[in-house]
């Protein structure tokens, strides 16, 4: 949301100290391609192991970096089952529907660096889905409020590109519809 504030002018003042980096897992050899832990440490980050969930996080002043990965088991995997990505010498938290954020991304940045962020339509659609999967009500409210703030910036053409590329089951469709009703966003615009 912070990035959309910069790129689109989305009004969203609240942000936490979490930076989630989505990782695309590509099968390869045994040798680490990039030792991300070392790269981040050289950049001034401190790695630490969270005993509560088994995730290795990186701390920089005021921010915490953690890695997330697409959950190919469709969310059936328990949250505690952390995925080790030996190619990058990190581990990551598997979460459902992350692939759509990786597939529909755009590059933003300055002359010095760039980052890839999901296009707002993908982020919006992802939040519509996961909001209804949240166990905690306040998390769901936050997700839907983010959707509401983003909804004014959604382009139908791009949104359809995102939604048409997903395989969505009946139950998930029902959940999306429910999210749309809460934020008063026309479900028909999703084209699913």
């Amino acid at each position: 949301m912070f990035c959309y504030g910069v790129t689109l002018g989305v009004k969203w003042q609240l942000h936490t100290g979490d930076i989630d980096l989505a990782v695309q897992v590509i099968p390869s050899g045994k040798k680490p391609r990039i030792d991300l832990e070392k790269v981040l440490q050289e950049a001034g980050a401190t790695s630490f192991f969270s005993s509560s969930d088994g995730l290795i996080r990186f701390s920089i002043p005021d921010y915490r970096i953690e890695f997330i990965v697409h959950d190919y088991k469709g969310g059936r995997k328990r949250e505690s089952e952390i995925v080790t990505i030996s190619d990058l010498n990190i581990n990551a938290q598997p979460l459902p529907f992350i692939q759509m954020l990786l597939d529909f991304s755009e590059r933003i940045g300055t002359d010095d660096f760039y980052v890839r962020i999901p296009i707002p339509e993908a982020f919006f659609f992802h939040k519509l889905i996961i909001a209804q999967r949240r166990r905690r009500e306040e998390k769901q409210t936050k997700d839907l409020n983010q959707c509401r703030a983003l909804s004014k910036f959604i382009e139908d053409e791009k949104l359809l590109l995102v939604t048409k590329a997903q395989k969505i089951g009946k139950e998930t469709k029902r959940k999306i519809q429910s999210s749309c009703e809460i934020i008063t966003f026309p479900y028909e615009r999703l084209g699913i």
Partner: protein, 117 residues
């Protein structure tokens, strides 16, 4: 006394508070792996040969006494780097403490004392 049920913004702040406390605990544990004290140099005069020998040392206090631990030159760069990393962690600890204090101040109005302990 039980306080009023909070809203999602307050929950988000409380989440941030809890996570910051977790990070702080992890960083405080992590810093124990690093050397303590300051890296400096000491000179020793060899009276017999009239030569001055300079060597690096790690100065820290232990049981109210100052300890000057000799560091071999072969380990000097490694220890210097570890002290640099330790100082970065110290800065981060300070930053998290400040954040926790700030969040606790906001949350004090709506949360019980036990939640913020």
């Amino acid at each position: 006394m039980k306080k009023v049920k909070s809203n999602w913004i307050e929950e988000m702040l409380f989440d941030e508070y809890r996570q910051s406390k977790d990070v702080l605990a992890s960083l405080e544990k992590k810093i124990e792996e690093y050397p303590k004290g300051k890296l400096g140099f000491r000179k020793k005069i060899n009276k017999k040969y009239g030569r001055v020998y300079e060597y690096p040392c790690l100065s820290y206090s232990e049981n109210s006494k100052v300890v000057n631990q000799h560091i071999p030159w072969s380990k000097f760069s490694e220890i210097k780097e570890r002290i640099r990393l330790r100082d970065e962690i110290i800065n981060q600890i300070a930053s998290y403490r400040e954040r926790i204090q700030y969040l606790a101040k906001i949350l004090k109005k709506s949360r019980n004392k036990e939640d913020l302990s």
